[in-house]
Each structure stands twice: as structure tokens, then as C-alpha cells.
Amino acid sequence: MTESNDKSRPPEVLIDPIDMSKLDPTFRKEIQSMPNADELSACFACSTCTAACPIANVWDIKPHQLIRMILLGMRETVLSSKEIWLCLTCFECQERCPQNVRVTDIFFDCKNLASEEGWIPNNIVSLGKELLEKGQLYTVTADWEREDLTLEPEVPGLSTTAVKRILSETRTGRLVKGGD
């Protein structure tokens, strides 16, 4: 925080300078072409999203910084960040944005791009595998509980084959097979 009096060395800085050559000017357009991201460039960096986020205190890159990084074209930093996967998806940021930037939705878009490029936590791929193999996230393990309540023994109404078929042809299928 304090600046050095020694002028022979560069001053201490709070953030590293941005290397312009590493910026990807197409990144913002890429995000904007995804669902719910039309208002992205309306962000004026007021950081209301960060104030609203219940866990921004444990994020190294804060929500408003992520949005700014997208606009600047810091593609790799955003997509490889752990923060996008720590999003609670509570929509508190999005709800409060005075510019109607759909912040949480945009983080979903980022996670989709990150998944495509392999920056995805193993446990999320495991959930995808579960869906792909079982066609639903949870299966009944204690059928006596259902029996006690005179409910039918299995999860009612779900077609697991349809889910397996659909997801085997989308990114879930590619990611799970790629991980095997």
C-alpha cells in the first residue's frame, strides 16, 4: 500500500499492469453473443455487484473486476479463474445492478466457455457423469422411507433415457468421455 521512497526501483503497485498484447478484443463479443449477456457493455464499474455478493470477501478477483476483465479482453484470466466456479448463483449481484447487467447469467456463460476449454472442476464433471449414466442427479437409496409414506418406490415421472440421450450429444457427453 505504501510507496517506496527509493526512486531507483519501480513503485509498489496494487495490481499488476495489464499486458496489452495478451488482450483478446473479441472476447466481449463472444460473451455478448451468449444468452442473457446483451447488457454486458453497459457496466460502468460501480461495483454494486461486489457489494451485494455474500462471498466476494473470499474472491481474489471481485465480481465487478471479472466483468471489467471481460470487457478488456482478459480471456484466459477470466476463464481459468476459480471465482467463476465459486459463484453461489444466488443472483444478488444481478438483482442489484443499476445497469441491468445480468452478472450471474454472464458468469454462467463464462463457465460454459471455460468448460469447453477444459477449465472445469473435476467434481462438476463428475456430476455430469452422474447425469449421463443415471439420467438424473439423485436416485432413491432409502425406499422404505417412501414406502412408509405410501409413495411409489422410485422417483416418479422421470425418463432417464431421454436425459442420457440428450446429454450424450451435447457438451456433457464430450466432457465426460474426454475425462475417461
Binding site: N36, T89, G128, V155, T170
Partner: protein, 286 residues
């Protein structure tokens, strides 16, 4: 008798049959006709949305299209299912290009998203279609004014332009049972369920913050309307004994259990013995 297409999802039937049973019995007592949707898809949860948006839209659009063929609104007890179905519904209603793309895929199964059947959460149907006055008349065993903290759950309320739900409905629904609604500072805060697979410690901390805030404000019970929130607030209390050496002793009940007891259903009808932190103390407050 208004009829609804019932979408139970996978988490409620697999993990919380007490929620499924109590909801169905409450609906029956109130004259709501619930018909299980058949052959529909698991919603995939926000985690599927994160890794595979297109796949997530497709599975949910498929469910919406099947419901369209029947024509009734969809009723679900789960915030996760509600959030996924309503979000997909909102997208397909507003984005015609996306809708065309999705319908091309659905056509392979002779299905089409038409947007007739609206996904609705059980508590919103209670509030809007049954109404507080009618519910009040059904209450035969009112609660004695005991303090209940409400956890709405994020995907029930937000984003508001998608959910179209007011953040006061559960307050009114709890009050009509005779209970007193406890105001607490973290009432809006997330339970942490979504980050459980990515950062368990953080998820536990969020649940703890929430329970602490409830306890400090004098809550004797808490109520939820989502299986994932229930995992975090009920089941996680057992975990907190080990991880933080803390005891909260806040029984967490699904709203349908509380309403069920207040309209005279038996404790076995609402599966009261299945709550992880014993919910039996509620019987002393009727």
C-alpha cells in the same frame, strides 16, 4: 378443482419423501388436483447449466413441451427445478432464435415448446390460487405464535424478472398458520448448496452463518421450500457438530409440513420423523 401437472424432480423424491408426501396431502386437503407429469427430464441443476447450457436448455425445454401437450401449469416443490424450468421458459419465451433452434431438436420426438404451461412453485400456487383467506379458514390446529425463521432460497426469488415472485409470500403463508415470523439479518443470504461440490468448507460456512443469524434472532424453528436448502440447513447441522463443535438445534421443516399440521393432518402424514434435526417439538406448539 384446479389441476396442475406435477413435476417432482429427483431430489425431493430421493432425499425428502416427507416433502413430497406432505405437499401431496396438503394439496389434496385443499382441493388442488395434482397429476404427475410422465416421461419428463431431470432439470440438471445449476451445475448442468454451468457446464452445458445447451444441454440444460434442451432437457428443460423437453419437460416444458410435454407439459404443453397437457396444458395445465407445472407445479414443483423444488427451488432448483423451479429455477431451471422457469429460466428455460423465460429464455424460450423471449428469444425466438433460440426457441427455433430448440424446437428443431424437440421435433425429433414430435414435441414443441409452445409456452402454454407455466412452471410454478408450490408455495406460489398456495398463495395465488388458494389464497391466504381460504388457507386461514382451513387452519384447525393453529400454531401458538412460536417463532419461525423463513429461508426462501435464492432460486425461488431471483432473478425477479424470471421468477416473478414476491419476497413476502412465505411471510404471509407462515403467519396464517398462527406462527410468528422471525426477522433475521441474513434472511436473504444463500444457503451455499451450489458451491458444495466445488468448495465444501465455504458451503458449510454459509450454512453456519445462516443458522447463527436465525438463532441469534430467536428462531425456534426454520422453514424451507427446497431440498437443497434443506440439506444445507437441516442435515448440515449434524455436520456442524463435528466441523465447528457447535449445536444449533433448530428443527427445519418444509412449509408443507407446517401447513399440513396446522390444517389437521397427522404427524405421520407429513413424515415428521424424517427431518434430520428432530422436528417433533413442533407438536407442542399446535
Amino acid at each position: 378443482m384446479p389441476a396442475y401437472s406435477l413435476y417432482m424432480g429427483c431430489s425431493v423424491p430421493a432425499n425428502y419423501p416427507n416433502y413430497e408426501a406432505s405437499m401431496c396431502r396438503v394439496a389434496e386437503s385443499l382441493g388442488l388436483e395434482l397429476q404427475y407429469l410422465e416421461d419428463v427430464s431431470c432439470c440438471g441443476s445449476p451445475n448442468l447449466r454451468a457446464m452445458d447450457y445447451w444441454g440444460w436448455v434442451l432437457v428443460n425445454a423437453r419437460t416444458l413441451a410435454i407439459a404443453d401437450n397437457i396444458g395445465h401449469d407445472i407445479l414443483t416443490p423444488c427451488n432448483g427445478c423451479f429455477g431451471s424450468l422457469k429460466d428455460a421458459y423465460h429464455l424460450l419465451k423471449h428469444d425466438t432464435n433460440y426457441r427455433e433452434k430448440v424446437n428443431e431438436e424437440l421435433a425429433k420426438e414430435n414435441l414443441e415448446f409452445k409456452g402454454i404451461s407455466k412452471p410454478r412453485h408450490f408455495v406460489e400456487v398456495l398463495y395465488t390460487d388458494v389464497g391466504i383467506d381460504a388457507l386461514g379458514k382451513k387452519v384447525t390446529k393453529p400454531l401458538d405464535g412460536v417463532g419461525i425463521a423463513i429461508h426462501y432460497g435464492c432460486h425461488l426469488l431471483r432473478p425477479k424478472d424470471v421468477t416473478e415472485l414476491s419476497h413476502t409470500i412465505l411471510d404471509e403463508l407462515v403467519e396464517v398458520t398462527g406462527a410468528h415470523v422471525i426477522q433475521y439479518s441474513l434472511w436473504k443470504q444463500c444457503c451455499g448448496a451450489t458451491v458444495l461440490p466445488v468448495d465444501e468448507d465455504l458451503a458449510i460456512r454459509l450454512a453456519r452463518d445462516k443458522l447463527k443469524s436465525m438463532k441469534e434472532s430467536g428462531a425456534v424453528f426454520a422453514t424451507v421450500v427446497c431440498p437443497a436448502c434443506c440439506n444445507q440447513l437441516d442435515l448440515q447441522q449434524l455436520g456442524l457438530r463435528e466441523s465447528y463443535d457447535e449445536e444449533y438445534e433448530i428443527p427445519v421443516l418444509f412449509y408443507s409440513q407446517i401447513l399440513g399440521l396446522a390444517i389437521g393432518l397427522d404427524e405421520s402424514d407429513v413424515g415428521l420423523d424424517m427431518n434430520r434435526v428432530s422436528a417433533r417439538p413442533i407438536l407442542q406448539h399446535l
